[in-house]
């Protein structure tokens, strides 16, 4: 099997990585770049635990080949905080108690950030629709949704 050399930006830094053709973006982030914030849940594009931003848009990183990411700009949960300051969604999910086991949280935060980037003042229905691809088995979603609402209100 041949390797592909790719150059991409991950959380603002340029990375050069040699990846086999069958390696997913999720595997590359965790196994090559040690960014283990992004989680492997279902490996089938259903649960959203592996959600990252690719060129500004959220994708399931288990459903993207690393070799496809040459030239891409990736943001993982590790890249949300800036200069030691948590992203507002990170702060509100803590404040609202939207984290229990924490496994879905990285993907949830990325989807929430992507939603607020494209729609700074979403309705509850829009929040629910935007998070439909992020499954949480602990919280029952209510506190996560109120955290996204609070983040939207705080940035108005």
């Amino acid at each position: 099997m041949s390797f592909h050399r790719i150059i991409l930006t991950v959380n603002g830094s340029t990375e050069q990585v040699d990846v086999p053709g069958n390696m997913t973006l999720l595997q590359m982030l965790r196994e090559k770049l040690a960014l283990t914030g992004t989680k492997n849940g279902c490996a089938a594009g259903e649960c959203g635990a592996c959600t990252v931003l690719m060129n500004g848009e959220p994708v399931n990183s288990c459903m993207v080949l690393a070799a496809e990411c040459d030239g891409a700009e990736i943001v993982t949960v590790e890249g949300l905080a800036q200069d030691g300051q948590l992203d507002i969604v990170q702060q509100t999910i803590i404040d609202e108690g939207g984290v229990q086991c924490g496994f879905c949280t990285p993907g949830m935060l990325i989807s929430a950030r992507a939603l607020l980037n494209r729609n700074p003042s979403p309705t509850e229905a829009e929040i629910r629709e935007a998070l439909v691809g992020n499954l949480c088995r602990c919280t029952g979603y209510a506190r996560i949704i109120s955290a996204v609402k609070a983040a939207a209100e705080a940035t108005q």
Binding site: M23, T24, Q27, C42, A44, E57, A67, E129
Partner: protein, 297 residues
């Protein structure tokens, strides 16, 4: 069964520089190579062991696969690699082909729709494809690049069974073309899932209706049904009935019954065949009534 490991089986990633190169490679490696766009169906099948491949050929970005073009005389062309979210929000599609946006919006989740494509949904040939019905009723035609050059494939003869199409090794669908929608056309897609959003359909009903002076009823209705036959199903008898008889509640009920009679669903984890049959009738009736109301407003 879902493989708990995040990796794909051993295979190589091929990124050809042109459609010719991609087509030649795919033809030379028939049975061991497949083209892919977003990969949302391919990767799942590879992980589950349903497919065994040596090569995945990335055809994104090749000639015309990345663009949406609309011409008020000629109609719409959606490139095969255009993600569904772009179809959902494209102003020309929202304005002129709202049914396409409506159907695409019911597919899975926002992040999956950043990878999933309309053409991929069609080529996957799942009877449950949410956007396939809209493409059928809107008269979609696939533009194919194959070993013998370019050709078109109408959707009416494209599907051969679950996961099976007329495409052969070396064929790459580059885009889908739509004629201008008929004047006054109104569309509706009703998807019955196990939950409100994101699930695969138990039954999907797509209806497009428009005034048509050439029919006895003065209207033409196009209907496509999902998840109730081995391929996407067009209940032609129901369509003919609605062209022949004056449209009324009774005619709509009769057409809904004809759609139910045409459906040949199976029992599976999402629903029983019997339940599906009845829901075809109920949802076809509802979709036709919704469209009819809007047409006569």
């Amino acid at each position: 069964m879902i493989n708990p490991h995040p990796g794909l089986p051993e295979l190589d990633y091929i990124k050809p520089a042109s459609l010719e190169e991609a087509s030649k490679f795919l033809a030379a490696h028939a049975g061991e190579a497949k083209p892919f766009m977003g990969g949302t169906d391919c990767f799942v099948r590879l992980r589950d062991g349903a497919w065994e491949l040596k090569y995945l050929v990335d055809v994104k970005g090749l000639d015309g696969t990345n663009t949406i073009t609309f011409d008020s005389q000629k109609g719409l062309i959606i490139g095969a690699a255009v993600p569904m979210n772009q179809v959902i929000s494209h102003p020309d599609i929202v304005k002129n082909y709202p049914l396409l946006s409506e159907a695409a919006r019911t597919v899975a989740s926002y992040q999956l729709r950043n990878r999933a494509t309309i053409v991929g949904n069609i080529c996957n040939a799942s009877p449950a494809g949410d956007t396939t019905g809209a493409c059928i009723v809107l008269g979609g035609v696939l533009n194919v690049f194959g070993p013998k050059g370019k050709r078109t494939e109408p959707l009416s003869s494209f599907f051969k069974g679950p996961g099976k199409t007329v495409l052969e090794a070396g064929d790459i669908v580059t885009s889908i073309s739509f004629p201008l929608p008929p004047n006054g056309a109104v569309g509706r897609y009703i998807k019955l899932g196990r939950n409100m959003l994101s699930d695969l359909s138990i039954v999907g009903v797509t209806v497009l209706g428009y005034p048509d002076k050439t029919t006895k009823s003065g209207y033409r209705f196009k209907i496509a049904l999902a998840s109730v036959a081995p391929t996407p199903l067009v209940p032609t008898q129901a369509e003919e009935l609605l062209a022949e008889k004056a449209i009324s509640e009774e005619t709509i009920m009769e057409a809904a019954q004809a759609a139910m009679d045409a459906a040949t669903p199976i029992d599976d984890v999402r629903g029983s065949a019997r339940y599906r049959k009845y829901m075809v009738r109920n949802l076809t009736r509802q979709a036709l009534t919704d469209v009819w109301k809007k047409l006569t407003e």
